[in-house]
Amino acid sequence: MLYHAKARFSSTTGLEDIYIGPSHIEWKGEKLTEDAFTWQSPVLGTVYGTLLNFREQVDALKGEFKKPPYQNEPVRPILYIKPRNTINAHLKEVAIPKGVEEVEINATLGVVIGKTATNVKEADAFDYVDGYTIVNDVTVPHTSFYRPAIKQKARDGYCPIGPWIVQKDNVPSPDNLMIWTFKNDELISVNSTKDLVRSIPRLIQDVTNYMTLAKGDLLLVGVPHNPPTAKAGDTIRIEIDHIGSLENRFVLENVQVAGGEKA
């Protein structure tokens, strides 16, 4: 069975309609394998990540919330931005900087916004969704969530996205999707979007209560508790039911420059 998705290639402008089969991809009537394409991020809008939205993470930190520096439990969704230099693509490399042994692999679902979303009600939230993609929110490990983690989260190429956007009609229950992380083909982590503190529609409601999401923006549903890590030489593949799989190889920083493009 084929399902419809949208992708961006380095050889084309704009999003291309593709059809995903079990072992091939149809594009403009041709049957191709995924390595026949040079994949780009299918998302060009602002990427907002959500902290503390997996129940396991919140439960584990419960004892800390009332203590300094946090003082109180989080009330509104805590967001962060993955800026444009972080945007990376399927089958591209991610660099580990000097002095960092390993980086966190934060496998997550990305919700692509389909139209301007301001003060949206939970019941209407899916009207504002265009589709879904896979994101690896690569992060230098850090233990404190007190200050924005720019140095840890905003490094070049630290946000692989893709390979494509699956239109929402092809994803029957986005609040019950399994997220599988493989390191060098070995399964190392499993999560499910059913374990979110705020479900996708609730998250869209609570975020758009205080800020507008624009068409093409990407909202990441949350990062897992105790995420697995990768070192130089590892290949990470993230699979999400009904969406596909996103693969990246980790290398040392000196062989790579901005945005995952090789010099």
Partner: protein
């Protein structure tokens, strides 16, 4: 030269200031009052600094940081000169922040401080409002405080780098309803412009039209619906906006 982006005559135009009026790229002259002012730069990544003036850090009872406190903002938050900023009902502390904005001119990675100005194209002004009622101690200042729609007026002008002799010695002023409320100088920044460019580019690539909002001095006070707020920086311009309530937004 001072550059603006404005809407008038049914389209969006690039314009420059010439003898007290706007000259559009197509040659037409338009009065300042006859245009809608847009943010002068179509921004890439928007960086902002917290606690970058020692006096302001003291004012909100924090020790000056040892490393820059950097946070990011989304494009939803920007508005142009003469725009309106929403103050939600029932908040107690919403304050302005007059800030010098550095506009990055070209790709910058691993830049040394002595070369930093080579990567600057120019400057503008931002009023980086904060609503302190929404502060939470997670990735603080969290986006609910700083990234709400309309919370960051910017402009009116993009001023080219070579028109500003010493960006680290400019007076900053904020007026509320015509009364001077905040006064400072960019010379009192804890982390100056070359430091910030060296720091950020040491771990990430800066690109053309990325913006760095460099923080605000002391003198931030609460503003309420109806207040007219003007932030001004010597040699760069004067950015006006008005605080409005929920009603205008049907909230």
């Amino acid at each position: 030269m001072k550059h603006a982006r404005v809407a008038c005559h049914g389209a969006i135009h690039d314009a420059v200031e010439e003898n007290g009026v706007l000259k559009l790229a197509d040659g037409r002259l338009v009065n300042f009052d006859d245009v809608i002012w847009l943010p002068p730069i179509n921004p890439g990544t928007i960086f902002a600094l917290g606690l970058n003036y020692a006096d302001h850090a003291n004012e909100i009872s924090f020790n000056a940081p040892e490393e820059p406190l950097v946070f990011l903002k989304g494009p939803n938050t920007l508005i142009g000169h003469n725009g309106v900023t929403r103050r939600p009902a029932n908040v107690e502390m919403m304050h302005y922040e007059c800030e010098l904005v550095v506009v990055i001119g070209k790709k910058a990675r691993n830049v040394k401080r002595e070369d930093a100005y080579d990567y600057v194209s120019g400057y503008t002004i931002a009023n980086d409002y904060a609503i302190r009622d929404y502060l939470e101690n997670y990735y603080r200042p969290n986006l609910a405080v700083k990234n709400r729609d309309t919370l960051t007026p910017i402009g009116p002008w993009f001023v080219e780098k070579h028109d500003i002799k010493d960006p680290m010695n400019l007076k900053l002023y904020t007026y509320v309803n015509g009364e001077l409320k905040q006064e400072g100088s960019t010379k009192d920044m804890i982390f100056d412009i070359p430091f910030l460019i060296e720091y950020l580019s040491s771990f990430m690539t800066l690109n053309e039209n990325d913006l760095i909002l460099t923080g605000t001095p002391k003198g931030t006070v609460n503003v309420v619906e109806g207040d007219e707020v003007v932030v001004e920086i010597e040699g760069i311009g004067s950015l006006q906006n008005t605080i409005v309530g929920d009603k205008e937004f049907a909230r």
